[in-house]
């Protein structure tokens, strides 16, 4: 995956108006501030690599993942990807409260581009991974928050993608479930899956990633050896 001078610029209206009448009446008086979320970012991620992304809130980490997932079309720059991309998405997107866990699993699988036949093969493994017992066939509205998390991760973990994007700001279940997720990630890595992981848990990224990218105001502040980048990041935090 290669990003060449990727920029994402938002125009934020100071007086947001979203109705038709307001747009017509005030079209000429509209004021914008431009927010640069990513500033000519150039980056190459190798096949099978695990890249960690760190930075303060608002540094552009999530925007970077959105560009890689092709959810957000960059304002300028060129993006090249070889392989299929899947992302661990936020917990409720694509889930419906009236449907059962099983039905929701099929639905989310479909959103992630998994064929129905493939989901048939996987559904038992997904149920086992989620490990929520009989609730798997109960409507989602009866679930606890933890069970929804388990289901969401079980579906995504069962997807074969060449590149997996993970935004860990989401938080993942209890300790036991985290161990299971880590084991599944290790399996994916062994198969040569590329990972891009955004996290605030700097220590864990340092231990597991090949390289770490430190984003600051949409630019690369540092990129390279996990220990060095994390040391610089920690030094800047305390400065």
């Amino acid at each position: 995956m290669r990003l060449d001078e990727i920029s994402v610029r938002y125009r934020i209206a100071l007086d947001p108006h979203v109705t038709l009448k307001e747009s017509i009446v005030r079209a000429r008086r509209r004021k914008f501030v431009e927010h640069v979320a990513l500033d000519e970012l150039t980056l190459a991620v190798a096949r099978g690599e695990m890249l960690g992304v760190i930075g303060r809130n608002g540094a552009g980490k999530t925007t970077l993942l959105n560009v890689m997932a092709r959810v957000l079309q960059p304002t300028s720059g060129r993006l090249r990807i070889r392989g299929s991309v899947s992302s661990i998405i936020d917990l409720l997107s694509g889930f419906h409260p009236e449907l059962s866990g099983r039905e929701n699993a099929y639905l989310r699988g479909a959103f992630l581009g998994v064929s129905r036949a493939r989901m048939h093969e996987r559904i038992d493994a997904i149920a086992a991974f989620a490990d929520i017992g009989q609730f798997f066939d109960a409507p989602l509205r009866t679930y606890s928050a933890g069970m929804i998390v388990r289901l969401a991760f079980a579906v995504t973990a069962g997807v074969d993608a060449d590149i997996l994007l993970i935004d860990e700001a989401l938080g993942v279940g209890d300790a036991e479930f985290q161990v299971k997720c880590a084991a599944r990630m290790a399996e994916h890595r062994a198969r040569g899956v590329t990972f891009v992981v955004v996290s605030h848990d700097v220590g864990r990224l340092q231990a597991s990633c090949d390289r770490i990218l430190w984003l600051d105001h949409g630019r690369i502040r540092a990129l390279g050896d996990p220990h060095e980048v994390v040391a610089q990041y920690a030094a800047a935090q305390h400065a």
Partner: protein, 269 residues
């Protein structure tokens, strides 16, 4: 191995079409979700599709059966097909617009966004087709003339569906940019119904006003849909050609408008 290069993208309208074709499972899953969610906890199932037009049918029949006795004999049989098709138009455009403007899934996962409109359309086509069964049974029991003309219904439904998809996409594009498009549409729909001969026969409209009825494209589709059910006749070839032309034009316009603005949506959080 899938390759993607942002510098070598096909035109958006074409790219969307290709992605939609690759996401057949998604369409299927969405249609099955729509149907299940709608009928999950209901004993009546698809019969709910019949409830709103039936209530409307009773109301307008009480009001107009005598008034239109000469121009539309057997008035309930005249009005019901029109109500069904109008409801199909109103519900599909409303549901598509609301779902596409309200959805946040596409800010998280990459998938062809037109899948939401297409799956809503398919769901409502299924509902419409199912609603035809009791309608035809009732018409047969009431000794209405029915025959091979019914075989023209699938073609009429397909042409109507293409037009409705185009209209849905145009509406959804507007709804993405302006929050008041959907409420305005909800207010406009009941009035729009009276610009097509749904509850009144076209023959009572003065000749000087008749061309204006054709300004509502649904007039054409409703008359074609009603002909086999009410008078056991098939619309002429010219009607079908016109329906096809309007459907394709509307669909092309909607598709281009929507796909052109689809990339922009993520920037309008």
């Amino acid at each position: 191995m899938i390759e993607y290069d942002s510098a070598a993208r096909p035109p958006r309208a074409l790219e969307e079409l290709r992605e939609l074709r690759a996401h057949a499972s998604l369409l299927r899953a969405l249609v099955s979700r729509n149907i299940k969610v709608r009928y999950k906890r209901s004993a009546f199932g698809f019969l709910w599709t019949m409830v709103s037009p039936t209530l409307m049918l009773i109301a307008v029949s009480l009001a107009f059966t005598r008034a239109f006795a000469a121009s539309a004999p057997g008035y309930p049989a005249y009005v019901f097909p029109g109500l069904l098709l109008w409801n199909f138009f109103a519900q599909t455009t409303t549901m598509s617009g609301e779902e596409m403007a309200g959805s946040d899934v596409w800010k998280r996962v990459r998938f062809p966004k037109t899948a939401l409109a297409v799956s809503t359309l398919l769901t409502n086509v299924i509902n419409l087709t199912l609603a035809l069964v009791p309608l035809i049974i009732i018409l047969a029991v009431a000794h209405r003339p029915l025959g091979v003309a019914l075989l023209s219904l699938p073609l009429t439904i397909v042409l109507t569906a293409l037009f409705v998809l185009g209209a849905s996409l145009i509406l959804a594009t507007g709804a993405l940019y302006f929050a008041d498009v959907m409420p305005a549409w909800a207010m406009l729909l009941p009035a729009l119904m009276f610009t097509a001969p749904v509850v009144y026969p076209a023959s009572i409209v003065p000749p000087s006003l008749k061309p204006w009825l054709q300004l509502n494209p649904m007039t054409l589709y409703i008359e074609a849909f009603r002909a086999p059910l009410y008078t056991n006749t098939i619309p002429d070839a010219r009607s079908f050609a016109l329906m096809l032309a309007i459907a394709l034009l509307t669909l092309a316009l909607g598709w281009l408008l929507f796909t052109r603005s689809a990339d922009d949506i993520a920037y309008r959080a």
